[in-house]
């Protein structure tokens, strides 16, 4: 089917600004298929149902809008002091000097650039494959664009229990950087891996992460999307879960002009468990969109979505979350909550929670709320001597608690609470 003219033009403009498809061997084939998908879909437009609340223009544009880098000097980098294997990307380009040796017991790690030299590779079964599966029932053109044009990334294969977390660090350097990163992660049956991500990334940052979690494997993902104020980012997590496997993903977002985090999770084996959580704090020109799609395609799986946003001074939060329970996916336990705390009337929260259920023996609940801070509680705290700003921070942290509790590692959770406390001490509603 031919694309509408506007979409065709937008895509042509974008493709003209991108380099010709590169890649060798298996990767070249995967990229070509991704490009074909993109050409069939076109770029997202505001009129697309899936982009009703978020304007993709700056993500589509041939050139990124410039974004000043923001050097954080008042707190330690995330995960500082943790024993982890560091892999650093500067403006989306692997930085060997700043990275650790890519050697870790229980895991093999390769750069995308090295992997494509091989004729056959395990990543063939994942790269662009999970992304392609995630294109129905809803199109995700920016993910296909990423698969076609990603310039760097890592392929991580966990064969056993990783001896320490793998930590991906994205450094923003150039004011006009346009990073496209693509990672594939495969966990063998029973394998365990914790993946940490942090950093402001680039002026414009596109990242796809495809994760294949085999039976009994467990994947923990903790991401801190840095304090860079002007960056724009679109990220996709595509995860496929086997029986009795476990996915936990938590994202903290503070600042950033525009963020669209999509998560597409497919529970394909019985008794799998997927928990996705996000805590977001935004001040002023801030637009944050969590778009989640969880498919229950097996029996007795559990999924949880816990997304909380604190918005002030005209910030916008978006949540689109869906639980799809396929026929036969009995004993599904699905929970979804999206809430926002609006610290003034200038800020807004747009939510579209959805359930689509084709099995009869399931337990699914969803709720979405948007509210102001409890003035009575605030006064109570103040009357005990707690300054207003601090009292507000206490109530905000209480609001975010349910999302932060999804982090399995208590030390990381504590660090994130402390970061939020400091952020709240720096930001306040002017409304």
């Amino acid at each position: 089917m031919a694309l509408p003219k506007a979409k065709e033009d937008a895509l042509a403009a974008r493709l003209a600004a991108l380099p010709a498809l590169s890649g060798k061997g298996w990767l070249a084939a995967a990229r070509a298929e991704a490009l074909a998908r993109l050409q069939a879909m076109g770029l997202p437009a505001r009129r697309d149902e899936y982009w009703r609340y978020t304007d993709p223009a700056s993500l589509n544009a041939p050139e990124p809008l410039p974004a000043k880098r923001f050097d954080v000097t008042d707190e330690a980098a995330p995960f500082d002091g943790m024993d982890r294997l560091k892999i650093v990307f500067v403006d989306g380009v692997f930085d060997a000097a700043a990275s650790d040796d890519l050697a870790l017991a229980g895991v093999s790690i390769e750069r995308l650039a090295t992997a494509e030299e091989k004729d056959i590779h395990w990543a063939q079964g994942i790269y662009g494959v999970l992304e392609a599966r995630g294109q129905t029932p809803v199109a995700r053109p920016l993910a296909a664009l990423n698969s076609a044009f990603a310039t760097d990334g890592v392929l991580i294969h966990a064969t056993g229990r990783a001896s320490k977390p793998v930590s991906l660090i994205y450094v923003h350097n150039s004011e006009t950087s346009d990073a496209i990163l693509h990672h594939c992660i495969k966990l063998d049956p029973g394998a365990e891996l914790t993946l940490l991500e942090n950093g402001p990334a680039a002026a414009r940052f596109s990242k796809v992460m495809e994760v294949d979690i085999a039976d009994g494997a467990s994947f923990h993902h903790i991401r801190l999307q840095g304090r860079d104020h002007e960056r724009r980012a679109v990220t996709h997590l595509f995860a496929r879960l086997g029986a009795k496997s476990d996915l936990r993903s938590f994202t903290l977002t503070a600042n950033g002009r525009l963020t669209r985090n999509e998560a597409v999770v497919e529970l394909t084996g019985d008794e799998g468990r997927a928990h996705l959580a996000g805590a977001t704090v935004g001040d002023g020109g801030f637009h944050h969109d969590d778009t989640v799609f969880i498919t229950h395609a097996a029996v007795a799986c559990e999924s949880r979505q816990v997304f909380k946003k604190v918005l002030m001074n005209g910030a916008t939060g978006v949540f689109q979350g869906k639980i799809l329970v396929k026929p036969g996916a009995q004993k599904t336990d699905g929970y979804q909550i999206s809430q926002s705390l609006l610290l003034d009337e200038d800020s807004q929260f747009l939510a579209k929670p959805e359930l689509e259920i084709y099995a009869d023996d399931v337990k699914c609940s969803h709720g979405s709320t948007s509210g102001a801070i409890d003035e009575t509680a605030l006064f109570y705290l103040q009357s005990r001597g707690v300054p207003r700003r601090q009292a507000q921070a206490l109530l905000v942290l209480a609001f975010l608690a349910e999302a932060i509790e999804e982090i399995a590692d208590e030390a990381i959770a504590e660090d994130i609470r402390a970061r939020l406390e400091r952020w709240l001490a720096r930001h306040g509603s002017k409304g």
Binding site: D374, S383, R384, G385, L394, F399
Partner: protein, 251 residues
């Protein structure tokens, strides 16, 4: 200690006048009681003193140890030594009682330029004071007032007061909803804090509490004014005869 002069208060959003010229002076170390019919403005007076939003002072003044209370933020009033035990203590889901207490104690210490209490010291003091009020450790871990019974909430107010060691304590119907034993506990808690440098303003409907906490002065409030002031015998008079006589005397 506390000096209230000709205080007039109306609701901010409506043209409703609640306090119509309250005069009240509480000296250092004194215990005063305020009684009065429902809706006479007792809680409003305590809220205005504590700095709650929604009220507008149209006339008059309120000073704590010479400092203009009405000019301060609620937290500044607390740091200056004012404490209000709420008639309806507020539930705060997600904030642990212990965290709440420690944050409050340390915020006030900081405001006064004192060092924060260490976690260990703090814990010791809280446990000790909680024990005398028969507040169990489990209650300290729960979110502030969430799922507390009426009596537990009131005891929790007294625990906060004991931890914060304010100089001017206002108790708004802290005795309401308490069983006989709990009332005794609360009264003992108050009496333990009585000292030359600390004053109390006890709002109550019942003589019972005043049997335990012997007030120096009793005031009767009606329609936004203090209409009579006397000794402890005034409370007995109310207990026996209700407010009808007093109200008609004043006219």
């Amino acid at each position: 200690m506390l000096e209230i002069r000709n205080l007039h208060v109306k609701l901010q959003e409506e043209d409703k006048v609640i306090l119509r010229g309250v005069d009240l002076t509480v000296g250092a170390g004194e215990v005063h009681a305020i009684m009065g019919p429902n809706g006479s403005g007792k809680s409003t007076l305590s809220y205005v003193l504590a700095g709650r939003d929604g009220y507008e002072v149209t006339e008059g003044s309120a000073r704590l140890e010479g400092k203009d209370l009405l000019d301060m933020e609620p937290e500044e009033r607390a740091a200056a030594g004012l404490f209000l035990a709420f008639q309806y203590p507020v539930e705060i889901p997600g904030v642990g009682n212990m965290t709440f207490l420690r944050t409050a104690v340390n915020a006030q210490r900081k405001a006064r330029g004192e060092a924060e209490l260490s976690a260990g010291d703090f814990l010791k003091v809280v446990r000790e004071k909680a024990r005398t009020l028969k507040i169990d450790a489990e209650m300290l871990k729960r979110p502030v007032n969430v799922g507390f019974s009426g009596g537990e909430k009131k005891r929790n107010e007294i625990l906060q007061m004991a931890m914060l060691e304010p100089r001017m304590c206002i108790l708004d119907e802290t005795d309401s909803g308490l069983d006989v034993d709990a009332m005794k506990l609360v009264a003992d808690g108050v009496n333990a804090l009585r000292s030359d440098g600390r004053s109390f303003l006890v709002i109550t409907h019942y003589q019972r509490l005043l049997d335990h906490i012997r007030p120096d002065v009793v005031h009767i409030m009606a329609a936004g004014r203090i209409i009579r002031t006397g000794g402890p015998e005034l409370a007995l008079e109310v207990e026996n005869n209700g407010y009808a006589d007093i109200l008609s005397e004043v006219g």
